[in-house]
Assembly symmetry: C2
Homo-oligomer: 304 residues x 2
């Protein structure tokens, strides 16, 4: 081949990252484009600098692409309007941003790393967070392949309220949506086992229908088959449920509830970056790159 994967990844957009198996890439491309097609009008373009959209470590063994799109209604007015008319129109913002605009941000990250053991680590992640105009759950999905035959799958409609205190919320978004059917479909595959994250905080984010499993296949071909035949349709259906019954449904949210949602979302975002992402970035890319990437993520996560 004239071009190595490193060169290929530099030129690539978020969805053209090499290294992944076809079924894995197809899953990520399908889900990302399904969301972007449906919610495009609510999303600003990705404005990340080039050295955050793609980054690697010093010796070139780890590569990653990051993709972040803020929701229109979650972004500072300056990003949408010129500074001159910004102050005049500030009070009119509720009229400018439609009630339908509920997206806080869409985030995608794909990481590839050559392991010292000779193996390869591939992580792909897709998340859509809603803003405080709705209390509906967020969508998060991570696939962590520590080898071509070993996958950890995390697929969660992340609750934005304390489910114990709000059984009606549990019924609306988890019972009535029949998300449990999807969890059970995957649970039937012989290679699928429940997985317990070493982070108790990550566990506490799991809804009662969350999928947190380890899949160990005998061969790479079987893993590809499992992703294509089982993981993909389950993830697609969970995404459809999220779009139809969470992201695009109008909810009555009082000002007190909005303040509560903002605070709770902030704790989740902070802990997700600090407890979960920070250590991986530091380990795989070193402190300088990790800091730069985290700063860029924080700028989008905490833009409101």
């Amino acid at each position: 081949m004239a071009e190595g994967p490193k060169k290929a990844i530099r030129r690539s957009t978020f969805m053209e990252v090499p290294y992944l198996s076809d079924p894995h890439r197809n899953l990520m491309v399908d889900l990302t484009s399904t969301v972007e097609t449906r919610l495009d009008s609510q999303l600003l373009p990705c404005t990340l600098p080039e050295n955050v959209r793609y980054f690697e470590n010093q010796n070139g063994t780890s590569h990653a692409t990051l993709y972040l799109r803020s929701g229109i209604s979650s972004s500072p007015l300056e990003e949408i309007l010129t500074v001159e008319i910004c102050s005049v129109l500030k009070d009119l913002r509720p009229l400018l941003t439609s009630e339908l605009e509920k997206i806080d941000f869409l985030s995608g990250i794909w990481i590839h790393s050559e392991l010292p053991t000779g193996g390869e680590l591939n992580i792909t992640s897709l998340a859509m967070y809603l803003n405080s105009s709705t209390d509906a759950p967020n969508f998060t999905m991570d696939l962590i392949l520590s080898s071509p035959t070993s996958l950890i799958l995390y697929l969660n409609l992340l609750p934005r309220k304390d489910l114990v205190l709000h059984p009606d919320y549990l019924n609306t978004f988890y019972q009535d949506t029949e998300l449990e059917t999807q969890r059970q479909l995957l649970d039937k595959i012989p290679e699928v086992r429940p997985y317990f994250s070493p982070s108790l905080y990550v566990r506490s984010l799991l809804s009662p229908t969350a999928i947190m499993v380890r899949i160990e296949a005998e061969a790479a071909e079987r893993m590809e088959e499992i992703i294509r035949e089982h993981v993909h349709p389950v993830a697609k259906e969970a995404l459809r449920i999220w779009m139809d019954q969470c992201a695009c449904v109008k909810r009555e949210v009082s000002q007190t509830e909005r303040d509560y949602l903002r605070k709770r979302d902030e704790v989740v975002k902070t802990n997700t970056i600090e407890a979960d992402l920070a250590s991986s970035l530091l380990r795989l890319f070193g402190p300088e790159t990790a800091d730069r990437v985290q700063a860029a993520i924080r700028a989008v996560y905490f833009s409101t």
Copy 2:
């Protein structure tokens, strides 16, 4: 034997229920008496009427004993003081009830039922709830044996705050207490598999270190061995952690937090009775007995 088990159960106290295997009974007796010895000064005697302490269904195929002890500081003053001095001393209550009295109630229920299929169902449950003077977790443990070789074990330090919003609470009661070690000990037993309750509400009550497993043994002897060698020590250690690091630790709780805890606890109790216990009681004992028992439970659960 001159006496059948039915006669034996009528005479028995809570901890002398027949039908259970020795290791299962020993576990329940050990845990209950450990708690009662340590926290006896905080507990009132069980004042349930005879037909609630023991009850059965019409054709005598289902039997149960119920045991409820209110915490001193959670009980109406009338139960502690004579009516005459009650009104005078009402305002002095905070001085009368020590800061150390944190127990809301201790509850135990043991159910035995002959199944239409010819098998036997044995359920034993032990729970200690704390009152709103502390935000520390409650202790709950259920063993559900649908046959001598099939057990569902639920062992949970039930969080009393939204863990997602309060990572410090998660650290104090779940990370620093190393409860996860106990979960992992059981997880290593070959017959142990994660179990998913059909009730999403029950799942939402689980802490990140909760044990919710199904144990399928090849023979009754092996199940007895697993309960004796593995379940018993793990449950005992979880109880020790709960007593040392939850029930007997002073926590600063503001009035606002107390109101919140009272409300959240009430939702949990209501749902535990209605979603979880009510259907079992109705199915096994019929509507009249189920109503009587539930009323008695409600009287203790909601006495404050």
